[in-house]
C-alpha cells in the first residue's frame, strides 16, 4: 500500500504530464491546420502534372524508347527504397507504420534476389532501419531545417539527388515509401514507384477528340524537362502529406494521452481519498481505544 505522500506525488506528476500532452495536442492541432492547407494548396499542381505526364506517356506508347526516367534501364536488379518519416517522435504509430511498410518492401525485394539500397528522409525512419539494414544505407535527408511547410527546396534537392544517382546507374527502380494522408484519423503507409516514372492510374485522361498533339520543342525534349520535375513534385507532395500526417497522428496520440492521464488522475485520487479516510479511521480507533483503556 503506497503512503499518502507517494500518492500525492504520483497525482502531481501525472497532472503535469497531462498539461504537457494537452499542450502538445493543441500545438499539433494548430500545425496540422497549416500543414493541411499547404498540402491542399499544392494538390492542383500535382494533379495537373500527373494528367500532363499521363497524356505524354500515353502518346509515347509502350516501349517506344523515350527518356530513361520513363522507360527505365531495362533492368530490374537494383532497387532504391526511399523511406519518408518524421523528424520527431511522440506521434503514435506514425513512424512505425511507415517503417513496417518499408521493411515489408525491402524484405520482399531481398527475397526476390534484388540488390536494395536505402535512402531515408526524416530521422525516425533512419534510427529504426539502421539497426537492421545499416549496410544498405546510401544516404539520409534531414528535414529538421524545414520551416513553415515549405518543402520546395528540400524536395527539389532530394529529387535531383535521386535523378542524379539514377543517371549514374546506381539503381534501376526507385520506390518511395511514405505515409499518405487520407484524413485526420487515417494515414496509410504507401509504397509508390518513382522511377521509372509512372502516371497514376486514376489520373484524368483527356479526350483529344481525334486530334493530334503538337509539341514545341519536340516531345522528347519536353519529356526530358518534365520528368525530373514530375519526380520532384511527387516527392514534395509526399513530404507535405507526410508532414500533415505526422501532425494529425501526434494530435490524436496526444489526445489519447491526455485522456489516459485524466483517467489515471481519477483513479489515483480515489485511492488517495480512500487511504486518507482509512488513516483517519485508524487514528480515531487508536484515540478511542486509548481513552477506553484509561
Amino acid at each position: 500500500m503506497p503512503s499518502l505522500k507517494d500518492l500525492k506525488n504520483r497525482i502531481n506528476s501525472v497532472k503535469s504530464t497531462r498539461k504537457i500532452t494537452k499542450a502538445m495536442q493543441m500545438v499539433a492541432a494548430a500545425k496540422l491546420k497549416r500543414a493541411q492547407e499547404a498540402a491542399s494548396a499544392s494538390r492542383p499542381y500535382a494533379q495537373r502534372m500527373s494528367a500532363v505526364v499521363a497524356n505524354l506517356a500515353g502518346s509515347m506508347g509502350e516501349g517506344a524508347g523515350g527518356p530513361k526516367l520513363l522507360s527505365g534501364t531495362g533492368k530490374d536488379a537494383t532497387h532504391l527504397v526511399v523511406v519518408m518519416t518524421a523528424e520527431r517522435g511522440l506521434c503514435g504509430g506514425f513512424n512505425s507504420y511507415v517503417v513496417k511498410e518499408a521493411r515489408r518492401v525491402i524484405r520482399e525485394l531481398i527475397t526476390g534476389g534484388k540488390t536494395v539500397k536505402i535512402l531515408t528522409v526524416g530521422k525516425k525512419g533512419r534510427e529504426q532501419l539502421k539497426r537492421e539494414y545499416a549496410e544498405l544505407f546510401i544516404g539520409h535527408v534531414d528535414l529538421s531545417d524545414v520551416r513553415g511547410n515549405d518543402y520546395t527546396d528540400a524536395g527539389i534537392g532530394l529529387g535531383s539527388e535521386i535523378t542524379q544517382r539514377f543517371e549514374d546507374g546506381e539503381f534501376d527502380v526507385a520506390t518511395l515509401v511514405y505515409s499518405q494522408f487520407k484524413n485526420v484519423l487515417t494515414q496509410v503507409p504507401t509504397a509508390q514507384q518513382l522511377i521509372p516514372a509512372k502516371a497514376p492510374e486514376d489520373a484524368e485522361t483527356i479526350d483529344l477528340q481525334g486530334a493530334i498533339y503538337q509539341y514545341e520543342p519536340s516531345q522528347e525534349e519536353i519529356l526530358e524537362t518534365l520528368l525530373p520535375r514530375y519526380i520532384n513534385t511527387q516527392i514534395i507532395s509526399a513530404m507535405l502529406e507526410s508532414g500533415a500526417g505526422e501532425q494529425a497522428s501526434r494530435m490524436s496520440a496526444m489526445d489519447n494521452a491526455t485522456r489516459n492521464a485524466g483517467e489515471m488522475i481519477d483513479d489515483l485520487s480515489l485511492q488517495y481519498n480512500r487511504a486518507r479516510q482509512a488513516q483517519i479511521t485508524k487514528e480515531l480507533i487508536e484515540i478511542i481505544s486509548g481513552a477506553e483503556a484509561l
Partner: protein, 135 residues
C-alpha cells in the same frame, strides 16, 4: 461572346487562376503564342516571362511565370509554372531588395558552390521579374 477558353495557372505553391477567359498569350521557349478557345492540342515549355490574359482586346491580368509548361487540350489551357506571381500584386521596391540580396548571396557563395546554379537561376528570375514590372 460565344464560347470561352478555360484557363488555369497553377504553381506548386497554389492555384493562381482558374476560370473562363477569351484569350491567353503565353511566353513559349520557341516564341510567344496565343491560345483561343478550340485551339488544337498543343504542348510547349515556357521561358521566364509574362502570361497575359485578355478579355476581348483588353488585357485583364498579367502574371509573371518562371519556366514551366503549357498544355492545351480540348478542355482548355493549363499552365504549370515553377513559380508564378500576379504582377498587380508585385511591388518594384520589394523585387529590387530581393534582387540585391540574391546577388550578394550569389557573389558570396562563389562559383564552385553546389547552390551556384540555383542562385543564378533565382537572380535571373528576379531581374526578369523586375523588367516585367517596370515595363
Amino acid at each position: 461572346m460565344a464560347e470561352k477558353l478555360h484557363f488555369s495557372l497553377v504553381s506548386p505553391a497554389k492555384e493562381l487562376f482558374s476560370g473562363e477567359v477569351d484569350h491567353v498569350i503565353a511566353p513559349g521557349t520557341e516564341g510567344e503564342f496565343g491560345v483561343l478557345v478550340n485551339h488544337a492540342p498543343f504542348m510547349s515549355t515556357l521561358k521566364n516571362g509574362v502570361v497575359r490574359v485578355l478579355e476581348g482586346d483588353r488585357t485583364t491580368m498579367r502574371l509573371f511565370v518562371r519556366g514551366g509548361f503549357a498544355d492545351v487540350t480540348p478542355a482548355g489551357l493549363t499552365i504549370l509554372a515553377e513559380e508564378a506571381v500576379d504582377l498587380a500584386s508585385v511591388n518594384v521596391a520589394d523585387v529590387d531588395a530581393e534582387l540585391e540580396e540574391a546577388k550578394t548571396k550569389l557573389l558570396s557563395e562563389g562559383k564552385d558552390s553546389p547552390h551556384h546554379g540555383a542562385l543564378q537561376a533565382h537572380v535571373d528570375y528576379l531581374s526578369d521579374l523586375k523588367a516585367a514590372v517596370v515595363h
